[in-house]
């Protein structure tokens, strides 16, 4: 049974933060936040310089690690050792492995050891032995609802109001990860007055390319030519690579088609989300789209994408001209 964030929170509130922790996953912001919470609990600011030791990267000096593990805290109760991006749970030399395996078995009471990793290999023996003695925890991207609640909480702390719907929208237009959402939040906090509206979000937030492309497909679907070209023009201005754009258009149509096929077999929106590995918010959008496009239209749009790719790569057409022609073609069907 894998540990959850709630388990970690419980340990923090119970003040049982010594021992071994292995944190991994893509949500860096949350990871950093939890590590800082633990650090704050165990160490005081004055003696932090002596009692907090950080190792970074895959060049690990085993002697230094031994020193860190074996020396007592200086003028404090606890001591903390942080390993960042070592990669030892993915691939490590044999001597490093045996070194850490023996270390894991014998962690003193005053010591807190945290591994902050990007990726791990769950089959590795080192990981298994770490799990036995310590706590492993995966930090996944939070769900839309969790993130929206988080956003709403932050805004209310700054005496700003945001509608739940808009909060979900904000969370989805940003690049994934709380770090990037946080950056955009900061901008909004300093831009909006009293109420954060959707138009505020549209003006201030730097949208992810994926979302912009989705807006484009939506404009195509509504046959809103002016909007489609405005978006395209915007992308051209910021010098988006045409191939990236073409790929995203392709994958958007592909996903809409897949959503349509799932729905046709009486699937649900959540099944679509699971199948396409999308957040429910985005999956719902694709599903809405799929009812409005015909299957043959989607297929022809996808095939035409490949044709255009060919035309560009054989030098028959300028990239942007070809893309624009393609969009016009779609708008005129």
């Amino acid at each position: 049974m894998p540990n959850t964030i709630a388990d970690l929170n419980k340990r923090i509130s119970d003040k049982k933060c010594t021992g071994l922790f292995v944190f991994y996953g893509e949500e860096d912001a949350l990871k950093t936040h939890k590590i800082n919470t633990i650090k704050k609990q165990l160490l005081d600011e004055v003696t932090q310089d002596f009692n907090f030791i950080k190792f970074e990267g895959n060049n690990i000096n085993t002697d230094a690690v031994t020193d860190a593990f074996e020396s007592y805290p200086v003028m404090a109760e606890y001591k903390m050792v942080l390993f960042k991006d070592t990669g030892i749970f993915k691939s490590a030399k044999q001597d490093i492995k045996t070194f850490f395996e023996s270390r894991f078995k014998d962690i003193p009471d005053y010591l807190c050891v945290i591994f902050d990793e990007k990726e791990i290999d769950k089959r590795s023996s080192l990981y298994k032995s770490a799990c036995k003695t310590g706590m492993e925890l995966e930090f996944k991207y939070l769900t839309d609802t969790e993130l929206a609640a988080w956003v709403q909480r932050i805004f209310s702390e700054h005496k700003l109001i945001i509608d739940k719907k808009d909060a979900v929208y904000l969370v989805n237009v940003c690049e994934p990860g709380m770090n990037s959402i946080k950056q955009e939040l900061d901008k909004l906090l300093n831009y909006s007055k009293d109420v954060v509206t959707k138009s505020d979000i549209d003006t201030v937030v730097s949208k992810s390319l994926q979302m912009v492309v989705f807006d484009l497909t939506e404009a195509i679907m509504q046959n809103n030519k002016a909007k489609a070209f405005e978006i395209l023009e915007g992308l051209k201005t910021i010098k988006t690579e045409p191939f990236k754009l073409l790929y995203l258009i392709f994958s958007t149509f592909e996903k809409i088609l897949l959503a349509k096929l799932v729905l046709d077999e009486r699937g649900t929106v959540s099944q679509v989300a699971a199948r396409l590995k999308l957040s429910p918010y985005i999956a719902r959008k694709y599903c809405d789209c799929s009812t409005r496009f015909s299957e043959s239209f989607l297929k022809s749009a996808i095939v035409k994408c490949a044709d255009i790719d060919m035309e560009i790569k054989t030098g028959k057409k300028n990239e942007w001209i070809a893309l624009e022609q393609y969009i016009i073609h779609l708008l005129n069907i």
Binding site: E175, G177, N179, S180, Q183, D186, K187, L189, N190, Y191, T203, V204, S206, K225, A226, A228, F229, E230, E233, T237, I238, K239, T240, E241, K244, T314, G315, K316, K317, N318, I321, A322, E324, Q325, I328, H329, L331, N332
Partner: protein, 617 residues
């Protein structure tokens, strides 16, 4: 003070002067007022949208001891020091020229020291996308957790070149293209401030040329101001900036719409003669087509032309179908790619342009679509039949009668060859030979093997053409004509002709109905005066051949002069001619009938549509 370019002289000093980026300036100002600045910023946007300016203002505002509403005061010691460069806490780095790892390491070593005078140490790294991969990695560490007294501002035009790791560590601000109206307002302020007199039209035109970039706009303004005398007008701007180009494109497309190949070739030639780069011309033509296409599907979208031209463009877009534009783009694009390898670029482009006006030569899918859509349009609007033929008839009737009479024989060059003007005199060897036809026939009897052919032709009418003698047959005399036409028999006749006249002349056997203008050689006067007269009025013709022309009459051949009233009068001949129906008019009637039925174009469309569905399937 030395002369300073307008865009430098008028670089905004406070956030409120930055045009068209309120979403950025408002946020930054609030951050400064609330003391909640981020540790790394990323400013991205196209050139001339205010990235560096905003970074410079920010560097002062955040350090200003006396800042008002988040704007720098520009008067306190720190502001002044930053402005004149005496305060070293603000460092501007051009990443384009300092793109190595060492340059970044230097920053890394410096950041540990706190600011000397100001509150924050600020690094403005311009064109940050130019950093090398190693430099980016070196920067990463510093960017992630910089000391509290350091702020990084990265500015770039090409944000997609930055690694994701950098992007996620910065607060990103997107600078938008500046609207034309915003540029105009700012330029007005500047023109007023510097005491220049510029009309609103001129400002509008410059603002559209600026393409969303304030710096471009101001540079253009400066160029125009330097070139103009006192008041800067829109006309002057277009003269200085060479607005002719758009007009050429307009004309080119118009020629394609009108299927006017000649104009197209002329445009192409004149451009080539003027030494223009044909590649860039065709590329801008493609761009123009794209604008037409955009204009057609989304008329509300803003295009980078001045307002007058946009109206022209819109009007033109109404006249052309989307299929035609699409076909144009395809043909031109493939011409551009062919031209890369072609030794003579001009010919490639000329061919492409001709292809556009003559879509019937092109069997590609797009060309067919284009043609079908043209036909659809024609069915919808009706067809204007050009009555060019009628005009030409009217023109010919205005010409002197004699000239027309001369033009006539050219019609039948296939059977007989007409005489040139002035050739047809009594002194002409052919005329002489024809007059002595009876003698020739006599001679033919004596030529070996000449008797059988003599039997076929001795009662036949003859006439002449520029090459020699023409023997005329009735329609029912198919067999005799065939016999005479045998090379052997024709040779025998030629021998006889040579024996009598001493000249080698051509002999032809033709049906009488195939010859329109049977020349009455007997009517050609032998004395000089009448010869001149007939030469002036060109070949003498008769409308009824059978009566007047030309029986081999021994008596006639003996007499050189022509009997009076035999139609030598030019006026008479011309009159007779006018009575005859004009074949041109006939043609025209037939054409009109065709269109009256309306069947032809419709059938075409159906056939083509069927063809296209086949292709699609």
């Amino acid at each position: 003070m030395a002369y300073q370019a307008i865009y430098r002289k008028w670089r905004p000093m406070v956030f409120d002067d930055v045009v068209g980026q309120t979403h950025v300036t408002r946020t930054l100002k609030n951050q400064i007022m609330n003391h909640k600045t981020a540790h790394a910023y990323l400013f991205c946007g196209t050139r001339g949208t205010g990235k560096t300016t905003a970074a410079k203002i920010f560097s002062r505002a955040v350090n200003c001891t006396n800042s008002k509403d988040g704007n720098p005061c520009n008067e306190c010691d720190v502001c002044k020091g930053i402005l004149d460069g005496s305060v070293l806490d603000v460092t501007e780095i051009d990443a384009a020229s300092n793109n190595g790892v060492d340059d970044i390491r230097q920053i890394r070593d410096e950041v540990v020291y706190s600011a000397s005078v100001a509150k924050y140490k600020i690094y403005i790294i311009d064109e940050v996308h130019m950093l090398s991969a190693g430099a980016f990695n070196a920067l990463l560490k510093t960017l992630e957790e910089p000391p509290e007294h350091v702020i990084f501002i990265l500015a770039t035009t090409e944000v997609h070149k930055l690694p994701q790791t950098i992007l996620s560590r910065c607060q990103r601000f997107d600078f938008k293209r500046i609207k034309v109206s915003d540029i105009v307002v700012r330029m007005k302020e500047i023109a007023y401030g510097d005491g220049f007199d510029v009309t609103d039209d001129a400002l509008n035109m410059i603002a559209t040329l600026a393409d969303g970039s304030m710096r471009d706009g101001l540079s253009i303004l400066e160029r125009c101001l330097l070139a103009s005398q006192d008041k800067l007008t829109a006309d002057e701007v277009s003269q200085i900036m060479g607005g002719v180009n758009d007009d050429t494109l307009y004309k080119t497309v118009q020629a394609v719409i009108d299927s006017d190949t000649k104009t197209l070739i002329n445009i192409n030639d004149s451009l080539f003669a003027a030494g223009s780069d044909m590649n860039s011309f065709i590329n801008s033509l493609i761009k123009y087509c794209r604008d037409l296409m955009v204009c057609k599907v989304a008329p509300d979208i803003e295009l980078d032309y001045n307002s007058d031209f946009v109206i022209k463009l819109k009007r033109q877009s109404e006249k052309i179908s989307i299929e035609k534009i699409s076909n144009m783009i395809n043909v031109l694009s493939s011409a551009v790619s062919t031209a890369k390898w072609a030794p003579n670029v001009k010919i490639v482009y000329e061919l492409a342009l001709i292809k556009l006006t003559r879509t019937e030569f092109d069997v590609s899918y797009d060309a067919l679509l284009d043609r079908v859509s043209t036909l659809e349009q024609q069915i919808k609007d009706g067809v204007t039949v050009k009555v060019e033929k009628n005009e030409s008839v009217a023109e010919t009737s205005k010409q002197p009668e004699a000239e027309r009479a001369e033009e006539k024989p050219e019609k039948n060059f296939s059977v007989t060859k007409p005489f040139k003007k002035g050739e047809l005199t009594a002194d002409n060897v052919i005329v002489k030979a024809a007059k002595s036809w009876a003698k020739i026939l006599g001679a033919l009897e004596t030529v070996p093997g000449g008797v059988p052919v003599y039997a076929q032709i001795f009662r036949k009418k003859i006439t002449i053409d520029a090459e020699g003698i023409v023997i005329l047959f009735e329609e029912n005399e198919q067999t005799s004509k065939q016999i005479v036409s045998l090379p052997m028999n024709l040779n025998n006749i030629k021998k006889a002709v040579k024996r009598v006249t001493g000249n080698a002349l051509e002999v032809k056997a033709v049906f009488e109905k195939d010859v329109d203008d049977i020349i009455d050689f007997n009517a050609i006067a032998s004395d000089n005066e009448s010869a001149n007269e007939s030469a002036e009025t060109a070949p003498v013709k008769t409308d009824s051949v059978k009566t007047d022309s030309v029986k081999p009459d021994p008596a006639a051949s003996a007499v050189d002069t022509v009997p009076a009233g035999e139609g030598t009068d030019a006026q008479e001949a011309a009159d007779a001619y006018e009575d005859a129906p004009l074949p041109d008019v006939d043609d025209y009637d037939i054409r009109e009938d065709d269109f009256d039925d309306g069947i032809d174009p419709l059938d075409n469309v159906i056939a083509r549509a069927a063809q296209i569905t086949e292709i699609e399937e």
